[in-house]
Amino acid sequence: MIRAAIVAAPIDVAGLLDEVTAECTGATTCFVGTVRDVNDGRAVTGIEYSAYAAMAIEEMTRIGTEARAQFGDVRIVIEHRVGTLGLRDVSVAIAVSHARRAPALDAQRFAIEELKRRVPIWKCEHYVDGDRQWVDPTAIASDAPAVARGGQ
């Protein structure tokens, strides 16, 4: 069981947990990303998320498929929110379940790491001083897959 979505409304984390939990599962994990008040030393007031929704949904679904191939029969739901979020708002939630805890924990970590590495979603941070800036993780250290890079 895999489901992925890009949503504009607040994410119902408890609903996702309930969705993946079944009578045959014994361990459910959840990763929740929230908007933090400081990034790289600058005071943040909010984050504007945007996505290439059609591809993001496909890429998140592929991550779910890979997680099942690597960690066994996990049930996984990934939702990422877009739009303007305030401090403490949930930007992403990944719920994973399995009969046993190790695969659920492994798949949870795999899914958030892969999501951050390759799902086409962007964030523009808004700062206390009124400035705004698109976050570019590759400006620090490139961790995008080399094979996936186009251009010359």
């Binding site: 059609a54 591809m55 086409p120 523009c124 186009g150 251009g151």
Partner: protein
Amino acid sequence: MTELQVLLFASYAEAFGASAVTVSVPDRGTVEDVVAALRVLPGGHVLPARPLVSVDRRYAPGAVPVHAGQEVALIPPVAGG
């Protein structure tokens, strides 16, 4: 020549001032040709040496051929989560 629409997002959409642009590439052109055509447009100077490109919603290396009717997008550095 083949005309292709290229989807733009986030910082690239702002740089090019549009959410999509149309470029002409040689017949039997590749992702690399698309990037070269984008680079010379107003705003194209923001592109890194090897920007990410997707074709039909999958990341595509530079040598991948592109055809009319495909969904091509230029992907800024991703920052989800």
